[in-house]
Symmetry: C2
Subunit: 380 residues, 2 copies
Amino acid sequence: MTDVGDTERRARAALTRIAEPGDETVGRWLRQMGPVELLRALKGERDAPEGACEQKFAGLRLRAARQDTAADLAAVAAIGGRFLCPGDEEWPGQLDDLGDGRPIGLWVRGPANLRLWALRSVAVVGARACTDYGAHMAAVLGAGLADRGWTVVSGAAYGVDGATHRGALAADGATIAVLASGVDFAYPRGHTELIGRMAEQGLVIAELPPGDHPTRSRFILRNRVIAALTRGTVVVEAELRSGSLVTARRAMELGRFTMGMPGPVTSGLSAGVHQLLRGGATVVTDAAEVVELVGSIGELAPERRGPLLARDLLDPVAARVLEALPARGGADARQVARDSGTVGDVAQGKLFELQSLGFVQRSGGRWELVRTATATAGSR
Amino acid sequence: MTDVGDTERRARAALTRIAEPGDETVGRWLRQMGPVELLRALKGERDAPEGACEQKFAGLRLRAARQDTAADLAAVAAIGGRFLCPGDEEWPGQLDDLGDGRPIGLWVRGPANLRLWALRSVAVVGARACTDYGAHMAAVLGAGLADRGWTVVSGAAYGVDGATHRGALAADGATIAVLASGVDFAYPRGHTELIGRMAEQGLVIAELPPGDHPTRSRFILRNRVIAALTRGTVVVEAELRSGSLVTARRAMELGRFTMGMPGPVTSGLSAGVHQLLRGGATVVTDAAEVVELVGSIGELAPERRGPLLARDLLDPVAARVLEALPARGGADARQVARDSGTVGDVAQGKLFELQSLGFVQRSGGRWELVRTATATAGSR
C-alpha cells in the first residue's frame, strides 16, 4: 500500500481545521468530491456541493479562509508528530466502519505504527470522578492487557482513563490516547506529563489539528474513534447517562465487543456499568476474560496463518528487534533493546508491531518468537 | 382438585423416612408402583421392583422396618404442621418439573397455602459467610420483593439466606424456608428463633420427616426444591464452587430465571456470582429488576385474565379478608386484619394467597383490590 499524495494530505490536514470531527455532511461531500476539490469549494475556487445548506457552508468558508495548513503541519512536525490519511499504510482501516463519520485524518504523536498497534487493541473507559476501586481495577486491567500483548486505548482523562494508561505503561505495554483536542494540547492539564510520556512510549492521536481545544461535543465525538479503533470496549465505572456509556453503545453498534466490569450495586458509579450489562454487554472481571472474548476472533486469526508480512519487508529496526529474540524461551523488552542496539521505547513499540504482524507474542510480560513464524514467513 | 386419600398419604409420609430426598431410583419405583405398593414391597409384603439393586433395596428395607409413620404424623401435627402430597390442592405443581426427583411429599409448618404462595415466588440464595454488603443487599432485596407482593424463598442458613428471610419478614412479607432437615429441627441452631417466627408468619417446609438431621448431601438436594419451587433464583454473594451456584444452575436447567447481584470483582464472595453472570444469568441490582424479569410471564398472566377462582369458592377467612379491603385506595395488613376480625399473620398470609388468585395486589407495602377482579370473578 502506498501512502497518499502530498496534495491530498495537505487538503485533508486543512479540512481537519475547517470541519468539526464526525460531521457526516462534510464526510459525504468528501466522499463525493474528494478532499482537494472540497477544499477548493470551501475556498471559493469552485461551486459549493449541490444541495449544501448555505448557512452551514458559509460558516465553513469563514474557517477555510483563516486556516494555515503549512503552519499546522510544521507545528506537528516540530514535536515529532505526523498527519495520517485514509490510504496511508499506517491508517487503521477499521475506522472505515464509521462511514461518513470517519475521521478526515489523524494527527499522531509517538514512535509506533498506529495500524499495527490498533489491530490488537482494547478500549478501557470510565468515570473521571471514579472511586479507588475503579482506579485500581482500571490500572490492573491496563497492566493485564499489556502483559498479554494487547494495546490499551483510552481517552487520557482523569480517573479511569488515566489509571488505565498508567497501568499499561507500568507493564511496559502499548497504549494509545485518543484526545478531543490537538495532540500538542494536553487536556486535562494535570495529565500533561502522562500525555507527554505516552507520546514517547505510546501513541497520542487526535482528529483535531495542533493547538485546538476540547469542547463538550468534541469529547462525545472523540468516543466514536475509541469505539471504532478497538476490538472491544470495557467500561470500568460509569454513572447512568455518562460519556463512557456512549462509547460502549457506539462500540456495540459497530459490532465491537462491549464489556463491563461490575461493582457494588450500592455505588452510583457502577450503576451505568450494570445498566450496560443488563443491555447485553459481557461481564468481565479481569484481563484474561477480556482477552478470551476479544481474542476469540483476533487472537487466533493472524497468528494461525503465519505472519502477515514477509520478514525481508520489515523495516530495518523491526528486523533488528526480531533478530534479537532468542530462538528458544523469551526475553523482556529491555534485553531485546540491548541486543538489538535500540532504545527501550523503540524496541518495545516494534515488539508490539511485530506481534500484530504475527512474528512474536507476549506472555506474562515476556516476548517470544511465534513458533510457526519463521517457517511460514512470506507465505502470504 | 380433591386431596389424596389417607392410605396414600400415610404411605408417602413413611417413604420420606425411608428414602433420601431426590433419589431418582425410588422416584421411578414410585411412579411405576405407586406409594402404597412400594411401601408394601419395602416392608417385604410383596416382591421388590423388577431389576432393583439388591443391596440398595435391602438398605431401604432396614429403614422401612424401623419407621413409625403414625408417630411422625403426630409429631408434625403437635407443632401445628401437616404433610402434603402430590395431588393435594395445596401441592405446588411446579415441583413436577423435577421428574423422578420430585419430592415424595412435603412436611409443612405455617398458616399459608403453599401452592398459592409459591405461584409468585422468587428464591434469594447466597453465601453463609457473606460480607456486610451481601447481607445488606439480601435484606434489601427480601424487603423489596415482599413490598411488591412476591414470596421470598430461601434456605434459612446463616448469611444471605437469613438476611433475605429477615428482610421479607420486616416488610410484612410472605417468606418460605426450605430446610434440609425436619421442619421441627431448627438448623442452624442460631436460627431457631427465625425459623420459629417463619413457622408462624411464613412457611417452613422440608422433604425430611420430623426430627431428621441435615447432612451435606441433603443440603445440596434441598437446593433443587428451592430452584423448582420458584419462578427464578437470585444469587447475592457466592464463592466459586458454592452451593448457591448449584441452586442457580439447577434453576437454569429447569427453565427458571437465573439472576445474579454483582459486587466488587476484588471480592472472592462475588466471584461465583460473576461467573454465573458470564454463563448467561441476568444482572439484577434491585427488587424492581427482579420483578421485571420474573414477572414477564407470571406477573401478567393470571391477573390479566381475572381471578383464578370464583369469589364464593374462597375459604371463609380469605373471603372476610377480601371483604375488608376498601373499594378505593389501599390498606395495610394490620388495617385489613382489624377490619376482617383476624390476627395479623393470618390476614397477611391470606392477602398473599388472594394476590396469587388475582383478587388483590400489593404495591409499596399496601394492599388493594385488583380493578378487574370483581367484574370477572367466577369467569374461569
